[in-house]
C-alpha cells in the first residue's frame, strides 16, 4: 500500500492533477443484492489532452437481506448481511469533450457480518452465501464512464466487485 501511495504521489506530481471527492450509491447484483452508500477520493492525472489516469480510493457500506422460504416445519430463517469495503483502483480513461470512460483494475479488503442468522439445521438450507469475516481480500475489474460539469463530475462505475457484480453511481467535486 505504501508503494501504491508513493506511486500515486509520484504520478500525480508529473502531470497536471486534480483531486476529486465524490459520494454516491452502490448496488450489487449477484446472489443477495446489496445496496448502500459509497465515498471516494481520487487523483486525476492528465498526461495529455485525451488521456486521464485516475487513482481512486473507494469505500462502500452495503446492506442486504435474504429470507429462506419456510420449510415443511414452518421454519424460516433470515439473514441481514452487512459489508464494508475499501478499494484501491487504477483507471486508464479516455477524455473527449466533457466525457471520460475507460477500464480499471483494483484490489479491495472487505469485512462482512451476518446478523440475526437463524440457526441452521440439517435439511434446512442456509439462505445466505455470505459469511462473517474480516480481511476478506478481493480483486476487481472496473469500467467507468463519467461526465464533467465544470467543477462537478458524475460517473458510473461498473465493477466485478469480487464476483458480486455491481455498480456505483457517484457525483462529486474537483479541486
Amino acid at each position: 500500500m505504501v508503494l501504491w501511495i508513493g506511486l500515486v504521489l509520484f504520478g500525480s506530481g508529473l502531470y497536471a492533477s486534480q483531486y476529486v471527492f465524490s459520494v454516491g450509491t452502490t448496488l450489487t447484483l449477484k446472489n443477495v443484492p446489496l445496496i448502500g452508500i459509497s465515498g471516494s477520493v481520487a487523483i486525476l492525472s492528465e498526461p495529455n489532452d485525451r488521456t486521464i489516469y485516475e487513482y481512486q480510493l473507494l469505500s462502500h457500506v452495503l446492506r442486504g437481506i435474504v429470507f429462506n422460504a419456510p420449510g415443511g416445519d414452518g421454519f424460516e430463517s433470515g439473514v441481514l448481511i452487512e459489508m464494508e469495503t475499501y478499494e484501491f483502483g487504477f483507471y486508464h480513461l479516455f477524455l473527449e469533450d466533457n466525457y471520460y470512460w475507460g477500464p480499471g483494475v483494483g484490489y479491495g479488503i472487505a469485512q462482512t457480518r451476518e446478523v440475526n442468522q437463524a440457526e441452521s439445521r440439517i435439511g434446512q438450507q442456509d439462505p445466505s452465501p455470505f459469511f462473517s469475516a474480516k480481511d476478506i481480500h478481493y480483486g476487481v475489474l472496473l469500467l467507468k464512464i463519467g461526465k464533467t460539469f465544470g467543477k462537478y463530475i458524475c460517473e458510473l462505475n461498473v465493477s466485478s466487485f469480487g464476483g458480486l457484480i455491481g455498480g456505483s453511481a457517484l457525483c462529486g467535486i474537483t479541486y
Partner: protein, 187 residues
Amino acid sequence: MRHHVLRIMLVIMAGLMVLSIGGCRDLLTKHNIDLDGAKHGKKLYSGAKNCTSCHGINLDGNGFIPSCYSCHDQLWNKDDHTVYVSGVPHLLGVSSVDACRKCHGQDLKGSKIRDGKQALPSCYECHDDLWTGYAFHSINEEGYMHAPGWESPMTSGCTDCHGPTLQGGTARSCYSCHGDEWNEGHD
C-alpha cells in the same frame, strides 16, 4: 524524457496491477489437495476467507473461477469455526457437543450429501464413536461437561477413556484443566 518516464510508470503500474490481483496467485497448479476428486488449494485449511481473492467475496465464483457452492453447500464456509484440530476447523468456544448438534444433527452424523452437494460432515468421520461418551457427561462444572462420579475419577471409570493417569487416552487429559490436583487429593 517525459514519454520515457511515462513508459516506465506504465510498466511499473502493470507490475503492480498483477501484484494487486496477486492475492489470486494460488492458480490451478497449486490446487493439489484432492478431496473427493476435487482439487483444492492449501489455503483451504486456513479458513474459507482465504479463498476469496480468487473465488469471490462470498465464494460464489468470480468470472471464470468456479463457485465453491457448485460442490459445497452453504454451511461449510462459516468462519466462526476457527479452532483447528488436526487441520479440521471446529467451532470456537464449544465445551459441549450440544452446540454442534444444531448443525451436525442430533446424532452428530451430519448430512454428507444434500441435494447432490457436499454438506455437513459427520463428526464420526474423525471421532469415531467417541461422541457416545458425551451422552452421559451430563454434569456441567464451570462450562465443562463431566460424567457422574467425576469427583472420584480413579474409581468411577474415567480412566477408561481419559487414561490410567488421567493425562489423556482416547479422550482428553483431565490435566488440561485440573493440572496435577489429581495426584494430590484424588488418588
